[in-house]
Amino acid sequence: MPGIPENITIAGRTPATIKGNLPPLIDTAPAARGGLRAGDDSGGDNPVGVIFSDDFNSQPDWKGQVEINGTYVQNPTLPTGWDAFRSVGARYAPSKGDMDKHETIEIVSGVGSGDGKCLVKWRDSSTLAQPGVWKSDGILSKFIPGGLSEVYCKYGLELQPGWTSDATSNAKAFRFSSLKDGFDEWAFGTSAERGHGPMLFHDINYSSTWGLYNLAAMRGFPNNTNYYFGTSGVPSGLPRSMNQGSMPLNWVDNVTDLNNDGTDDNPPYISKVDGLPMSGKTEVAEAYGFGEINIFEHYVKMNSAPGVADGVYKQWINGFLTFSNSNIAWAGPDATVENMPKWNRVMLGGNDYFPVHDESLKHEEWSAYHFIEIRDSLPENLV
């Protein structure tokens, strides 16, 4: 991992280089700690391979408000360089009359470690029954015009110290998608939206029984027949069984034995609490710590032709390879050469299952995205 200690202050950026085409090596502290070169938010000055980056520091303060007390906000704004957002389902927020609370997503400073701005996702908890459980749906989406056959995304995510860690809760944090032209261009992806597929979701989930797990949810194409890999079939060499495209990955043998053949083939994830290889039930602090910027990296590559099981998904967390499979038929045998999908959406956030704290407490928790970088291929150090 890039290892600039938190107690080292990065005061400035190095000067621009040749005709401004090459970005300075270091831009912001979060970028430096994330191992990024600097780049502007338009993609124009990004290094080769980087098609978009944002550390949110240049963004104006922003709140994802669409409606306030049932009235639509006139002239809603998008953060610079981004293409869509959804911010609904806040239980406690200014738009709901709670002026000391927060909208589901916002860009602000003062949340998360460091002085910079972050994209902040707030999850609101309530023990009330449906429809109060899956709430706090905040997504910020970047479109990739024309799409890509492979795409890589890296982002820094910090969890609020004290992030609820002893009760079942699910937090959607990230997704790649392919959305077909002619379908709802605003859509963010569900089985009901027929234009989506394939997709890759990553959730930060906690089971009171099993502890913290990585939910990797893969969805296929075509949406109406292969969303849950009904025609592609389950990829070979997975670390655990797949249920309708989803895998609740643990932090122990699912990491060390990536293909579940009984032989360790990958270094273990090291606990942030005791510095030892993960074992047994994993707690949130062991994997992610609190007050730390965790580096997530996701890479997907479309399969070469309909039904051919050579598509890829790889995942790294804090530099540890935590998932790798190259036998995925993202596009099933009922796709055609003509309608082979391309990856064209990258999204941060999602909704939450968080029925833990009593409604009267109006309990909120944040997760803060410090930066994002999107590439059209794997960076050299991961090839």
Partner: protein, 37 residues
């Protein structure tokens, strides 16, 4: 306790997008399900 996995087609929710012409508009669509993804 397991997460519920039903979605309701009536759960239309607003979202904001940048259209191909650069304009920004608010649209209504299906919510990101009640846990379905």
């Amino acid at each position: 306790m397991s997460a519920p996995t039903q979605w309701k087609a009536s759960d239309l929710t607003p979202a904001v997008i940048k259209a191909s012409d650069g304009s920004i508009r608010t649209v209504l669509g299906l919510v990101d399900a009640l846990g379905v993804q």
